[in-house]
Symmetry: C2
Subunit: 74 residues, 2 copies
Amino acid sequence: MQKLNQEIGKLIAKKRKEKAFSQETLADLAQIHRTYVSQIERGLKSPTISVLSQITSSLGIKLSELLQEIENTL
Amino acid sequence: MQKLNQEIGKLIAKKRKEKAFSQETLADLAQIHRTYVSQIERGLKSPTISVLSQITSSLGIKLSELLQEIENTL
């Protein structure tokens, strides 16, 4: 499952950079702590589905789309 | 986010029953505790994406499919 967390983290970081958001901006929008964003992006933490949903809506994407993109690479 | 957790829980319970799995069987397959399955199904806990992935693969469905089905109802 570590691989899944790493892929999710990498993809979130990519989408965040595409939006030109800092980790702080994303954390503020998703109402989570900046260090938590950093841990998720590095695959160190597995986000809950609630948190992941807050992150994806802050990035303007659908949760299912993010996961579909990951399933295609795993 | 409570609504999301509840919808996920309901859908997992539905898919589990379609497979004729008990909560115990699903817990064993997904390598999590039976009480955790129960809490997730009742929307009391937001599963991590790792746990949700173990649950969906135990049920023979894709994570993205489960979430797509939920997004359509929210």
